[in-house]
Symmetry: C2
Subunit: 219 residues, 2 copies
Amino acid sequence: MIRPVQAVATVKDEAMRTMNVQDQVLRAALELFSTRGYATTSVQEIVVAAGVTKGAMYHYFASKDDLLFAIYERMLSLQKARLDEIVAAGTERGDAVEDVLRAVCEDVVTTSIELLPEGTVFTRSQHMLTAERQAEVKRRRRAYHDDFESLLLRGTKEGVFRDDVPTAVLIAHFFSDVHYLPQWYSPTGPETAAEVAGQLTELFLRGIRAAASQDPGKD
Amino acid sequence: MIRPVQAVATVKDEAMRTMNVQDQVLRAALELFSTRGYATTSVQEIVVAAGVTKGAMYHYFASKDDLLFAIYERMLSLQKARLDEIVAAGTERGDAVEDVLRAVCEDVVTTSIELLPEGTVFTRSQHMLTAERQAEVKRRRRAYHDDFESLLLRGTKEGVFRDDVPTAVLIAHFFSDVHYLPQWYSPTGPETAAEVAGQLTELFLRGIRAAASQDPGKD
DNA sequence: CACCACAAACCGACCAGACGGTATGGAGGA
DNA sequence: TCCTCCATACCGTCTGGTCGGTTTGTGGTG
């Protein structure tokens, strides 16, 4: 179990909140898991990189697995919150489905680029979690996909999205792009996150639009 | 180093070529690596599953890493061979670029579905290989992508593929689908491999086609 | 302000077990 | 006799996790 962060009252002026044990440990764990991999990173290496001792770490985390799950937890809740927010805003404004979907897609790509190390760990280490937590991750991913799917279904019902390809395939088609980002995208590369988000989203949308509705209007 | 398979001369009639140590070990390793993961599978478990002893296994393989690399080696050379073959045949027949690309895409999706366990290991365990072998895998993947890219560039030069999205993004867009297959596709699911191959390929091609094939003098 | 009591934070030596890999030697064909 | 193939016992190392004990911070009390 991850205990809540308690206030470390006295703040030494030489080191601000950098001293927080939990944050330091999680930061180091993310860095090491994403570069060396979960299984090949020892708890010793993590605590050394975090500048704390094993005793301190195990005071706040029950197991190495906790460190890994914290990465999943953060990513899952963040992405879900953003999805809900965008869909809610779009629905309230009465936006067209395609516009809502575009906003969702661009946002998840952008967010995933901001969380590249997390994404690396996410796809690579799912099977290292305990069985219960694997199930939990699976459950929450399904919930996310279900929300995404209802957007697609709304679009097909309105006739703007094609209906000759199963939604499961369309969903996989899009999220493949998202999950593949850590494998190729580099922040120091030629394209900005926003550009890639726009490009991948546009590729996806063009693929799923109903054949009849060819819209010349472009941005 | 993986020693070449030597002829196991005496074939006991109760077990035919099932006895081959190398095959049995590699089969078991693939099965276990793809379900439990490389790091969490011990050599003991592998040899037990293969029905051999550790001594026998280490007689043919120098290390656990060899077992892992064999999976990569097999997949890389197989996919590369098929790509070369299809491109060569298409070029010889003078097929249109889009037809060649379609054939390539459908084939790699189909093949990847036939090798789902290998694909699982491929994306998940790359960082567990020795540094040299990681570089080797990277090198051969790049070679594959380069061939793929020249198809795309041919298409853009001919004006049938769009030129407003970097080829690197287009390549990532397609191979994301391929690498994501083990995460969602099930052979027992509703779609056949050929169907999915056709659908994903069509989604991709529709995304990358030049906006107006009838419309010259654009930009 | 001095002092105490107490709990939370933290330290680091230690452990039991598992791991990848090896050393040794035997069986059996050539 | 030699060599390949393989079985078995074994080894050194490293791991995640524990635990008794110490330090540090804090609030109450006089």
